[in-house]
């Protein structure tokens, strides 16, 4: 097993305007991944403006000073590229992978929308993309059974005013109220070169990328006073569990059990990651063995546990199970809680630990097997921890976790008073 999770070169620079540039050369395939992390996410949204960071992400594809509406997609796809963007509570990322000869085009497009979006932003574009986002909300959260679980878990985990209290997709009411001036201000505030990391991985050189970055981004003005999101690192204990039961049009009872752990990047969160894998990843996991196979109260395809990798507050660990026919929600809830409780009392065996670490190693190398996976990883570590090279430490960090640390974390954090339980019950059908 290698002792580094990132055995490729990394070169970095910072332009005079504060834009950080990260390059990792790899000549294996004639392709380059271009990735921008902006340090703005839904955690920056004040009350009444939920969903704005994500709606803004949509607007970034709708044209800028030198790029006509819809031209961005057309130029990247016309170059043979793949592209997308995502928004989460922590950040917004934009990325494209293109045949290597189109690197300069990708950088030009990214610079134009970083520095020249506001003059091109129209009411018509805002109205159209607001409709698209509302359709996204219907499709992903409202029109599918259990689709709103994440929207319900967040306010149970984080109190009002906490930056993770509300979901990134936002509320329909806030989206309806969004006005053009707010979005223009949003761009001016957060889409500044000193609030972003540009990462390029693939068939190029650091010298080439640094020169092109300076050419296209170098003239953009920094913003000196970018407001920070509210500090969420301390979440006061309430002294009682947060419990919600929803009766809805769902095909079977389902339970989510969640706890706050540590921020992604802390050594404690490496423990959480390994713990979650022991608990709920694969057929050899405790949840599968106990609930799907042993007691046979949970549906085998729908039992699992995972951490949500958020870096600016104690990140959630979520365990979930869905009842087999004839099994009540109470029984399922008790079974799920029992397995989670035992993390503190029944020591993780060497075989369980090795299994979890082997699965995590494969997951890591799968992320590293493409230039776009590597670019996003370097952008994350540069943005959140100030140094892309720290990406190399994650896999060794997981591999160093011990059984004792897992038991200690479970004892410390997974008490009944800190527990969130969300239960879905099917509507009566008669």
């Amino acid at each position: 097993m290698p002792d580094s999770g990132f055995p490729w070169p990394i070169e970095t620079t910072r332009l005079d305007n504060g834009l950080r540039v990260v390059v990792s050369e790899d000549r294996t395939a004639p392709a380059v991944a271009v990735n921008l992390w902006y340090d703005v996410g839904s955690r920056h949204e004040p009350a009444g403006q939920t969903g704005f960071a994500h709606l803004f992400e949509h607007l970034m594809f709708e044209g800028s000073v030198n790029v006509a509406k819809t031209e961005h997609m057309k130029l990247i796809q016309g170059a043979g590229g793949s592209l997308n963007a995502t928004t989460n509570p922590d950040r917004t990322n934009y990325f494209e992978t293109v045949p290597a000869e189109h690197l300069e085009l990708a950088l030009w497009l990214e610079a134009d929308r970083m520095g020249g979006l506001v003059p091109a932003l129209t009411q018509e574009t805002l109205d159209n993309q607001r409709d698209v986002v509302k359709n996204e909300r219907r499709q992903r959260y409202e029109n599918v059974p259990y689709g709103d679980a994440w929207l319900r878990l967040l306010p149970l985990l984080y109190p009002p005013g906490h930056p993770y209290h509300h979901a990134t997709i936002g509320s329909m009411a806030d989206l309806n109220a969004a006005d053009l001036a707010t979005f223009q201000a949003f761009h001016s505030t957060y889409y500044a070169p000193n609030n972003a990391v540009l990462t390029v991985v693939g068939d190029t050189t650091a010298a080439e990328v640094f020169a092109l970055a300076d050419k296209y981004f170098g003239g953009l003005a920094p913003r000196p006073d970018i407001p920070a999101a509210p500090d969420g690192r301390t979440v006061p204990a309430t002294g009682r569990p947060a419990v919600e039961t929803v009766t809805a049009d769902v095909p079977a009872p389902r339970v989510y059990l969640a706890h706050r752990t540590h921020p992604f990047g802390d050594p404690g969160y490496d423990v959480t990651t390994v713990l979650a894998t022991v608990l709920g990843s694969g057929r050899g996991s405790r949840l599968y063995q106990r609930l799907a196979d042993g007691e046979r109260i949970a549906q085998p395809d729908l039992v699992g546990a995972y951490g949500v990798d958020l870096a600016h507050a104690p990140a959630p660990l979520i365990a979930t199970a869905t009842a087999r026919p004839g099994v009540t929600a109470e029984r399922l809830r008790d079974g799920l809680a029992e397995v989670v409780d035992e993390l503190a009392t029944v020591p993780v065996t060497a075989a369980e630990l090795d299994r979890a670490k082997a699965l995590l190693s494969t997951m890591w190398w799968r992320q590293m097997s493409t230039v776009d996976g590597r670019a996003d990883t370097l952008g994350r570590y540069a943005t959140q921890f100030g140094d892309p090279a720290t990406a190399a430490d994650r896999l060794p960090g997981w591999l160093a976790v011990t059984a004792d640390q897992i038991a200690e974390q479970a004892a410390e954090l997974f008490g009944a008073d800190d527990r969130v339980i969300l239960t879905y019950l099917p509507e009566e059908t008669s």
Partner: protein
């Protein structure tokens, strides 16, 4: 603000190359491998002629249940021991099923590949298939399908497929079966299907750093104890077009969106128009910049996304458009979608649109074919469709050489807006009158 106004042109194009392909006969089976030097991760995939097309009518879901049952213990160890053994290598057993093949694969750091292939072969060739376990897996799979069918989409897909191909044929029924067909399977059905299709050698596909992989040893492990030769796979099936367009309404009370599935039969995979058809489909609905997505999402704001494409297997194909649109705009979204299909058939594509489509499809070959998983998938295409090692290089050339005339001719020949079946899964009480008034065709309620 200082921006550079001039859009840069491309640099010198760099040569595209698909990884070197190695083919070998080992222990009565075929090994097809791609060399990925320096890659830490490797994928091995066992490709069997046991796709859904081999399932008898009335036994839909056999392959899906068998896939799960393979992990319920082997001749050598029980289910728990098997799970711990294979996951200790860092992989799960991943199975997949399409009309033409059944696939099982492992993905591990390269040093663990031979141990993973041995375990994969153990499950595929010598599963325990204890009747009590098979019954439980069957019931779980039926429950899982019921869960899935509670989502919008699966019912609409099944209704479209039955209407296009006829529910009396296996290919007119859902790929993975439906909750009822799975619930009716018996342990014997599973055992017989296994003995018929899962102990023939098949093909082992490998993607990884071949300098660190012993293909002969992998082949010997994968094909140990197998027997029986290939079985005739049948020729293309002639599927007639509908004589009129109609709407089939699938009720989903309270739905805030309507799920749209529009389709008609289209040619099989080996049809000579495959490349121009693919490009016509790309211009119409295959890319974010396509006509359908531009109009229905970007201009109208009716949906989060809409796509349309030609898809094909060895024996048959279909053209389909799929989307979810907000309930209130169901009728106009349908009218405008059919309108784009008609316009593309009648007036073809423009050079501007085709330039994007052909560059995108060609460029995607270098952009998307990176991970061992993606390369293994590309190799399975070579095997299933009897294509040569340089297929991907030739495909790239064919895509780049396609002309407006060829692609427009393919659109005219293979798009049939007047024969479309329009399946709408949504709140029937709210949308029925509007659908009737839209005058796209007879509106039929799905039973």
């Amino acid at each position: 603000m200082t921006l550079i106004a001039t859009r840069p042109g491309p640099g010198a194009a760099r040569a595209y190359r698909f990884p070197q392909v190695v083919r070998r006969t080992v222990a009565g089976g075929q090994v097809v491998a791609a060399h990925l030097p320096g890659q830490n991760l490797a994928v091995a995939l066992l490709l069997l002629d046991g796709g859904a097309g081999r399932e008898p009518v009335g036994k839909e879901g056999l392959g899906a249940v068998l896939a799960k049952a393979l992990e319920e213990g082997t001749a050598q160890r029980d289910a728990t021991a098997y799970a711990l053994a294979i996951e200790a290598l860092g992989t799960e057993l991943v199975s997949g099923l399409d009309w033409d093949s059944f696939q099982v694969s492992v993905q591990v750091p390269v040093g663990r590949l031979s141990a993973a292939v041995e375990l994969m072969a153990e499950a595929v060739r010598t599963p325990r298939l204890d009747p009590a376990d098979v019954l439980r897996v069957r019931d779980d799979e039926a429950t899982a399908l019921r869960m899935d069918w509670a989502n919008p989409g699966p019912r609409a897909d099944a209704v479209l497929r039955a209407d296009l191909f006829g529910a009396e044929h296996r290919w007119g029924r859902p790929l993975y079966g439906d909750p009822e067909s799975v619930a009716a399977l018996e342990p014997d059905d599973i055992t017989v299907f296994h003995s018929e299709w899962f102990i023939r050698p098949g093909t082992l596909v490998v993607a990884g750093d071949l300098d660190r992989i012993d293909l002969d040893a992998l082949g010997a492990a994968a094909f140990a104890g197998t027997g029986g030769g290939p079985v005739d796979r049948g020729g293309p099936i002639e599927v007639p077009l509908a004589d009129r367009r109609r709407i089939i309404l699938v009720d989903r009370p309270g739905s805030v969106q309507s799920t749209l599935r529009l389709g008609h039969p289209s040619p099989h995979r080996a049809h000579p128009d495959h490349v121009p058809m693919t490009l016509a489909g790309t211009v119409l609905g295959g890319a974010f910049t396509s006509r359908l997505n531009h109009l229905i999402r970007e201009v109208r704001g009716y949906t989060y996304g809409i796509r349309g494409d030609f898809a094909s297997s060895r024996r048959f194909g279909r053209f389909a458009v799929s989307s979810g649109v907000q309930t209130a705009v169901t009728a106009p979204a349908l009218v405008e979608s059919v309108g784009e299909v008609s316009r593309t058939r009648l007036t073809g594509v423009t050079e501007d649109e085709l330039e994007v489509a052909r560059s995108w499809r060609a460029g995607q070959l270098s952009v998307e074919l990176q991970s061992p998983r993606a390369i293994a998938s590309a190799l399975t295409t070579l095997v299933v469709h009897d294509l040569p090692d340089d297929y991907h290089a030739r495909l790239r050339e064919a895509l780049l050489a396609a002309t407006v005339e060829e692609v427009s001719a393919a659109a005219a020949a293979h798009l049939h807006p007047e024969a479309l079946t329009l399946v709408v899964e949504g709140d029937a009480a709210v949308i029925r009158d509007e659908l009737v008034a839209a005058d796209l065709g007879e509106v039929v309620d799905h039973a």
